[in-house]
Structure formats: structure tokens, C-alpha cells
Symmetry: C2
DNA sequence: TGCATTTGTCAACAGTCGTTGGCATATGAA
DNA sequence: TTCATATGCCAACGACTGTTGACAAATGCA
């Protein structure tokens, strides 16, 4: 077996590694400075490569952003969960997404740019429609799932914004326990119409 | 009494009118497209004037933005309000600020740019510290006013973001009554630690 | 009428941006 | 070795940015 067929089979050519480096740099910079604030030249510098290569690997800045802004929330199925623990489950998953070691900066990228970039805004609306709303619709009346999912999202996106992007000091200072107790109760109310505890 | 002294006394020279036109155009465009998305040339075009004049009247784009991003929430004093109606009072004032005819686009300007512009973010943190937090501190234990005001802000900024900037369809569709009932209850819980009935 | 001040236009500056095409080098198959 | 391909650098393009200084017109007081 020669090198060529080996590379084709294992999918780890040199170009693949460069491609991954560029994407990693892009995700970092888009998350930190937003779509406008992160230039292709910045991304190239962070990937130790020429700016022209960024365009060669990804056809344009828009396409690079689209590849960087991929999000999978991995929300739990609320049907199989104790109905009284839905609020707590959601806020715990939220903290995992934003502070856990496994999840990438996808949501940071999207949220940072969604206020001033139409593409990011549309992508964020898609995350809501495809990942949040169906999960909420699985419990309670599906007819007003939009309303309940919208309320949940307004609270959680607001919390993410204040805690991780705006860095409002008192919100940054909130402990996980405080968040689970306070925000968890509000989410519980939004999703089920009932109170926690 | 000649024109000069009249103008000096009444403060309505031609330059003042031009200045106001520029500021009005800037507030509109900053609110719609954010700090980066609104160029000085755009502002000048909307004010039907040369771009150089924008710099002459306001020394720089930063200073123009600072003048445009002035916010006064006019929050009510919660002490003089029925304790059980605090949540409803807050959400009603929120709707007045964002949808009422009297209030300008100040908060839209700030929120739209705060995710990717450090100055706007700092300005928004100041609004929280100087206008939101003191109001919440007037009821309940002042020691944890930061925590309670932070929770309130996360919910209300999240709602503003989803409803007015991101325009998440189900959140846009929420009626005032639904918002008062659902979000009002959550705010009541955040501020007082008690539930609305 | 003159004249100084205000108000405004125009052209250009230095810089950054996304993007492109040409050319060099390295790689690996024949 | 020979040669095609993959990978990369360099220079430049056209467009846009905030900002500046020189000059023109309008204004209003003497």
C-alpha cells in the first residue's frame, strides 16, 4: 500500500491539516471579535499561513464563517425526563454548552455576530427552529410550542449574552447553583406553565 | 435686538439644525446596522450633507456614536409600588421603552453594537450599574441587589434581542398580555424571590 | 457697500478589506 | 530522473474606510 492510497483512505493529507488549522483559527477569532472584527488576514496570521490560502481552502469569507458557525446543542429529549426537573435539566445543559470543555465556540460565534450580520442572525434562527423548538414541543401542548420555546430562548440567550459576551459583573459572578435555582425555576415555568419545587 | 443675540439666546442657529440632522441620521443608521455597519458616508448621505461635515460637527466617528448612544430608561421607583406588581411594572416599562412612541432608539443602538464593540459594551454595563441596579436595590436586600438586577437584565436584554434585533418569529408574535403574564412573573420572582399569583 | 465668520463642498490622504492571478517550491508517482 | 500535482508565497487589484486641508459660497454685522 503506497502513501497516496493510504492518505486517500485515512483522509489526512497535508491540505486537510492546513484546512483544519485555518478553521480552528477562524473559530477562535470569529468568537472573539465577530464577523466584521475578524479579518481574513488575522485568521491567516493565526494559522501561520498566507491570506490567499484561506480563500483557496474556503471560497470566501462568508463560506469560512458558515463552516465556523456550525452548532449542535445536543439538547436532551425532555419526554424521558421527570417533568418537574425540566427547568433544571435545561439550565444544566446550557452551562455545559457554554462552559463545558467538550463544546466548541459555535454558539459564541453565532451570538457575537447575530446582532449586526444577517447571515449569522438567520443561522441562529435556524438553530432555534431546528433544535430548540422541537425539544420544547415534545412536552406540553405542541400548538404553543413556539411561544414556550421563544420564552426559553429569550432567557437563555439573554443569560449567555450578559454572562459570556457582555460580561456583566454580577451575572458573571453567579454560581452554577444560583443559576440552576433561579433561572431553572423560570425555565420550568416557561416550558410547563407550572412552578418548580 | 439683532439676529445674532437672538440666536445666541434661543440656541437655534443653522449649525444647530444641521447638527441635529446629522445626529438623527446617525441614530437611525447605528440602530439599524450597528457601529461597523454604519459608515460616516452613509450618515452624511442620510443627512444630505458632505461626509467632512460629520467630522467637523462631531470630532470623530467614536464621538458621534457616543452622542447617539445616550440612554435614559426612566425606570419607576419600585419602592412606591405594590410589591406584588413589581414584575408587571417592569415588563410594562420595558415595552414602553422598546415600542412606545416617545423613546428613541438609544437601547437598540447600544444593544446592536455591544456584542462586537467594546465602547458600546462598556456603555451598556454603565446603564446597568447606574439605572437598573439602583432601582432593584431599592427593594429587598441591597446586599444581593447585583444578583437580582443581573437576573432581571439577562431576561429583559434577552427578550429585547430575540424580539427586536434577532426577530425570532415566535417571540415577535407574543402579545403584550402574554409578555406581561409570563415574563412579568419571572421578573417578579427574580426581584423579590416570591411568585406572582 | 465691504468684510469676517460661518457653513459647506471637493479631492485626496493613508490605511484596511476581500479577493485574484502569477510564480515558486515541495511532494510523490512514473 | 522526469514530470505532474499539491501546496504555498507574493504582489497587486479595486473598493471602502475615517479623516484632513484647501477652497468656495453664504451669512450677517460694520
Amino acid at each position: 500500500m503506497n502513501f497516496m492510497t493510504q492518505n486517500q483512505a485515512m483522509k489526512i493529507s497535508k491540505s486537510d491539516r492546513t484546512r483544519a488549522h485555518i478553521l480552528e483559527a477562524a473559530r477562535l477569532l470569529f468568537a472573539e471579535h465577530g464577523y466584521d472584527g475578524a479579518s481574513i488576514r488575522d485568521v491567516a496570521a493565526h494559522a501561520s499561513i498566507d491570506p490567499a490560502m484561506v480563500i483557496r481552502y474556503f471560497r470566501s469569507k462568508d463560506e469560512l464563517f458558515a463552516r465556523a458557525a456550525v452548532v449542535d446543542l445536543h439538547l436532551p429529549e425532555l419526554r424521558v425526563i421527570d417533568r418537574a426537573a425540566i427547568g433544571e435539566t435545561l439550565i444544566r445543559r446550557f452551562l455545559e454548552i457554554w462552559e463545558g470543555p467538550a463544546s466548541g465556540p459555535g454558539m459564541t460565534i453565532l451570538l457575537r455576530s447575530a446582532m449586526s450580520n444577517d447571515f449569522a442572525a438567520e443561522k441562529l434562527r435556524e438553530v432555534f427552529a431546528n433544535q430548540v423548538r422541537p425539544v420544547v414541543a415534545a412536552v406540553g401542548d405542541p400548538a404553543d410550542a413556539g411561544r414556550r420555546a421563544g420564552l426559553v430562548s429569550s432567557q437563555l440567550l439573554g443569560l449567555a449574552m450578559c454572562r459570556y459576551l457582555l460580561r456583566l459583573p454580577p451575572v458573571v459572578a453567579l454560581s452554577h447553583d444560583e443559576l440552576v435555582r433561579n433561572v431553572g425555576a423560570a425555565l420550568q415555568h416557561y416550558v410547563t406553565g407550572e412552578d418548580q419545587s
